[in-house]
Symmetry: D2
Subunit: 352 residues, 4 copies
């Protein structure tokens, strides 16, 4: 649309749901041009063979993954790979002066000990990891602007942290009382053929998984601890919901000051997110539906206080594949590139 | 099947989902015969007009609701009506020597003050209400056996209480830390034409409702208080899930004894429900899916302990229309009549 | 973005699904500004009360419907009303020099006798109706460009006619053998509280409706007759599918020339739609999924020939609320205004 | 229920959806006892590991498949295996005097040439195949009663043939005009991990597959030809619907006698199925919903005649896993054993 030059970007891991979201969203982004798609198992295939409905719009093949070549052809690289692969190629990409946005867990932890404990992989790239910034712009906007490497948050942590941050940052809750009961559509499981993600199994059913040991727990805790100023433990329980997209995190915590009422908290949340165009605080008595957020990069947050129990209940809804994944990575890129944070991202959810 | 005489039963409010479940289940019950169906708006229609797929099996019309006539023709009456109607006709039915199983909230509260506070209806039938027994057989089996009037539990309280009872009864948790995050299919909303229950609105979406003020809260609290031996407040949050049937209650509570491990609790739950044929405690590491329970009167319960936070997490899954409503009422009837508790109830869930 | 002046547009009937789609899509359209929203039952409410997720983006109230005022304030008006209402206000709007795009059936029929037979309403605005153009750009692009009044096609006719047109126009099939078996998501039923559209009823179920008498039949036949050059009767059967959005029309017809093979037809279809940016003909052996189209204004068409039976089978997939309704109306507006046909319309479907 | 002795039955291929349906239904059957479960990949596991919700009810392990041993321990064997395996073990089982009900395609064709053409496997057990009876009781009840080997119909053929049979048998339609547009839930694809059956892919989407070449085509044609008395070709198109269970077949055909009206056909269908307890013909103007049939062994059939086009439209709805698979096999067993055809089979569908 009249740009003299678009920034060349690449996507590694283009065949999964994160990849196809990135492709779709970046095609509409006014400042970039997707010039490279990479993949392991799908290398050699035209992208349109993986997603036929995009064949007319995306003319690129999926190529072998060679960081040297990617570095030569792109300025920004999105890595949408299984955990443990991004850290193998990122040092090379950084050396080639690429800006790197990793959607896996590899660069979410400043302390690789935690990573190794929960993800089971030994790593020795502490120096690189130490330069990574956690890509939640609502908390770390200015650091993201300076970074060359972003560890993009997980989908659950995004919803959980946007609900918890104002409370922890302002010291409004007793941190160890915080419980996150999260619910996700099945696209969060990726484009992998697993029995329990079949429609015949997952539709019209509901269950928890990864109880007390889901890997997003330490990720949430790391940021909560940073906000609280001391180490915080969070109870996190994810559930699989019979729907394609969307996450709702229902967060419970005990208020330090039992005199706080719902509208106080709504005011506090609105102030906290005043400069965050992608967060919307609901009106009094309004609770977010995941469908509101689906198709957009928005996070909707609703609040309630129970005067009987002294707890605050925060509900946050996002599209797990946009604000919870690809959209947030693009939001980070916008900030890194000095563009408007909302550039090229869908602003209005689909409904119904 | 060889019975000399079947017990004549009636269903008032046959046109709703509770009604059709009762009809369907009681048709297969070996000891009873459905001789009366009653309804307000549907009076005068053949039942098969409301549910065409049952037209070949159910030859009864829906009749006007006249307690005098119902009392003459039936020995057991199921009332499946909106809240506030059962209490109008129950005294008459009891006078006529009927056994009454009320599926509404009218007889769930021993203390009508609580009922009036949460349901907004003034009542003066304290004497009748005082004779009602709360129809959760796993807790009140022997009292149900003696009762003439049963206040059948709500769907959410059934799932919540089956998860909480062993913990409270044995004093294993700090009661005021208990949080119930419940998730229900939309059939819980009944066969009423409301915008937010349309498939186009509710499918592929998810949200909380009635936060901090859902009417099932005092019902859960009443029984929890009874079990704990003192007044208990519970945090209860229901969510609407894009599926037809099923409830999952995810219950969080802090253990009094941090030394308890998961397998201890599994042992304790199994002992608690030893004589309860409709409750199944899952194996270690197994979490219930609502689909397991759907189509049966079973409640599946899974357990986890978080040694990091000292909390127990209990997950209970039921079919909201069977164990959560019509099936449980029939289970109560079986007990009241001196029959086997499992008689005529579906034992194996549908899958997939 | 940088226009000196945007064209003021109005939407009458903003509260329904057609309305909210128009609002959402027109908010992103670079050449127009939505300046008026009208409704009957919702008049006086802020639009954000009807659709809370859009409250932050749409600041307009829903106003009373007064054609005089609408005519003064807008240049283009979209009417998204129940059948029989548009024809009451359209003459006035045309008099005020508005361009009118009616999404109801009121102006789809050049012959009001057919309208009256199938829709039951007597009308005497033959003169106005005669000036209306059927808003299917792929067939009537040049007439749309000249028109002041557009009768936008129904959702089923859009999918059906895009599948049938090349066959009829080229005389490739025996017209009276044509059968359209159509399947639609439940959003096609609108935002109305009806029992059979409840999730609890419609989910995990499937059925036909309106068999041999659905009102879209004469609409399809009128255009087919126009294409064939003689009167054509079509067998049309719609089905309700347990999903929110999307229509698939599966079309069967006997080929005149049994020697035609699948790839001949793919070539013919591609030629027919060469200048139609919103129609995509699938590759050999590829059949469209409705999800491919959802979220975009695209129609995907797949083709197969059965050499055993001599029939062609055409499958066309659209988003019923976009290409089947609001998007197509905007496409028509683009043409009427002399803008690019694709302006402001979503080009890439959502997936998954 | 007081039987002196139950008939020992075995299920080979117990781990799939056909298997689990058989297990579940046969557990409730009053005349049989499941004594053997066999499987390839799941051999050695307790059945409850495959389907944890049934662990409390089914105490059997999945065993290796050895026809010699199966023959010694059982009198009736259900084979629920991928195509091409049943024919390997059936001769041995027959030799051991077992009654065999094969749910695969292996014994559906009297002419193995057709089988080989469509299924690609060379076979030389013509003699055995010639003794097999096609297990559609509504057509071949008396032959099933005499048979030792049953080739149980596919799910689509069951729905299609129950809709077509009265028309073909009575010569009411022009056979070559018959088109079957069929729609199935995704459980028809079995418990196999395939990308296109993932909830994230299949939910909220819809598409045709196997167009003009689905293997159920020759199966339908074989029986149609038998009924018509001459070779008949049928147009058959299956579609995948975003639901778990259920098939709807919408059948179109031109009537020979244009004077026939809808109620004539309803009368004819009712007469045809007079002695078939599992087929229900809908009232005038009533069209079956798949949900009516789900959970039962019933087939609901609705009828319409289009006086404008001279076509009859027949809609038949079944539960693909019960009447379309496991239930029908049990119905056949009942007939083979001289029991009531309805024994042990669910008579009332689930709703909602």
């Amino acid at each position: 649309m009249g740009n003299l030059r678009r920034v060349p970007v690449g996507i590694v891991g283009a065949s999964g749901y994160g990849g196809v979201q990135l492709v779709r969203l970046l095609m509409d982004h006014p400042e970039v041009e997707v010039v490279y798609l990479g993949g392991e198992s799908s290398a050699g295939k035209p992208f349109g063979e993986l997603y036929p409905h995009l064949a007319h719009a995306v003319n690129l093949p999926v190529e072998e993954v060679d960081p040297e070549i990617i570095g030569d052809r792109t300025e920004v690289v999105f890595l949408s790979l299984p955990n443990g692969l991004a850290c193998e190629m990122t040092p090379k990409l950084l050396e080639k002066k690429c800006k790197v946005l990793d959607l896996s867990a590899d660069y979410r932890f400043s302390d690789l000990t935690t990573y190794t404990t929960w993800y089971g992989k030994q790593r020795n790239d502490n120096a690189t990891a130490a330069t990574a910034v956690y890509g939640l712009p609502e908390l770390y906007r200015s650091r993201i602007a300076e970074a060359q490497l972003i560890g993009c948050p997980g989908c659950y942590p995004t919803a959980s942290l946007l609900a918890l941050s104002p409370l922890l940052k302002q010291g409004l809750i007793v941190p160890e009382t915080a419980i996150v009961d999260a619910k996700s559509g099945t696209s969060g499981g990726g484009r992998q053929a697993k029995i329990n993600f079949l429609l015949a199994e997952a539709d019209n059913s509901l269950g928890a998984y990864g109880v007390v040991r889901h890997r997003h727990t330490p990720e949430i805790e790391q940021i909560c601890s940073d906000l609280a100023g001391h180490e915080v433990m969070i109870q996190f329980t994810p559930h699989l919901i019979p729907m394609v997209r969307g996450i709702l995190a229902t967060v419970y915590a005990t208020l330090r000051d039992p005199g706080l009422v719902r509208d106080d908290l709504i005011t506090i949340f609105r102030a906290f997110y005043r400069n965050s165009p992608w967060v919307r605080i609901c009106e009094t008595g309004e609770y977010p539906q995941t469908k509101w957020a689906c198709g957009s990069n928005l996070c909707y947050i609703g609040l309630e206080v129970d005067p009987r129990t002294g707890r605050v209940i925060v509900m946050s809804a996002i599209d797990n594949l946009i604000k919870g994944q690809a959209g947030q990575a693009i939001q980070c890129m916008n900030i890194m590139m000095g563009w408007d944070e909302t550039l090229g991202l869908p602003k209005l959810g689909f409904y119904p």
